[in-house]
Symmetry: C3
Subunit: 134 residues, 3 copies
Amino acid sequence: MTERLKLKTQGFCDIINITEKVSSVISKSKVQEGSVLVFVNGSTAGITTIEFEPGLESDLKKAFERLFPKSLEYAHNEKWGDGNGFSHVRASFLKPDLVIPIENGKILLGTWQQIVLVDFDNRPREREVIVSVK
Amino acid sequence: MTERLKLKTQGFCDIINITEKVSSVISKSKVQEGSVLVFVNGSTAGITTIEFEPGLESDLKKAFERLFPKSLEYAHNEKWGDGNGFSHVRASFLKPDLVIPIENGKILLGTWQQIVLVDFDNRPREREVIVSVK
Amino acid sequence: MTERLKLKTQGFCDIINITEKVSSVISKSKVQEGSVLVFVNGSTAGITTIEFEPGLESDLKKAFERLFPKSLEYAHNEKWGDGNGFSHVRASFLKPDLVIPIENGKILLGTWQQIVLVDFDNRPREREVIVSVK
């Protein structure tokens, strides 16, 4: 069973908690034992887990800016002019996929572990996240 | 087939080789063709592969400290006071999941490629790693 | 269905677009709904996605060199003398696996999202990438 989540994001390392939406797809699928694949089909966003609270949202954003500054020169920008070279490089590091086990119909996340979409683009976007249960 | 590995760690980027334990679960499962999902259900740990030898253990720890220093100010620490903001950020970068193919009942790792749990927390922990074969 | 791609690389963060080869395996498998696991069985290479164009190839290589410089001292090098400590550390950060959903027999990548092997080793290599569809 595969469903698509439609999400509006602000870009610039916007971090969106999608745990409840993923859990709903699992419930609907009636899969008891298996796994869920969460995948964002874009080249300027990624998927990971985090304890979703405002402090860590800010800390994760700062880490991405420290390691992959917007202000560096990116060869991508020189050619394409869309100014989001930093977004692409961040996304390639974080990667677009995450797989989580399911047991007794429940996703096996830790208590403080939420699934997030991170949108690295340099403008608001409408994103599609694919959730595939089996 | 899903099993849980129970592991004691020291935290602070402790790197634990879990390759043999994962292989044992695969043997027990009798799965011949498929894949194994390795997942740590916590927000301050991650899973990856490495050539497991003391030099690289030290090199990987140094890289995490260089890129995500413990001594930076983390907003997470200001609010929650548990001092492990660096642990959370590192874990979100490394991510908690890894999927490896199985063929003829064997895990298809390279000769020098081992599966490791990396515990980023700032204290010893008892960790649960979920190993799901199908 | 599991196939092996054989690839010649130049090392030093060589980025090889394997999207068409992965798509061919999916076509051959006749799987309509499922996922594909792409896995490199080596400890000095990784798999991710990127908009594959020369600017971003250069930007990604620069980011790896900035974050994990070749010229640092690596304990791995002191003991093993093969000079590729930086390659191992980069590979452990990027990780060797990627899972992508399949629907109606098609891989659900974004329009500008390609699958790439990144070879971090310090010499040309012949690599094996495992593509497993189910």
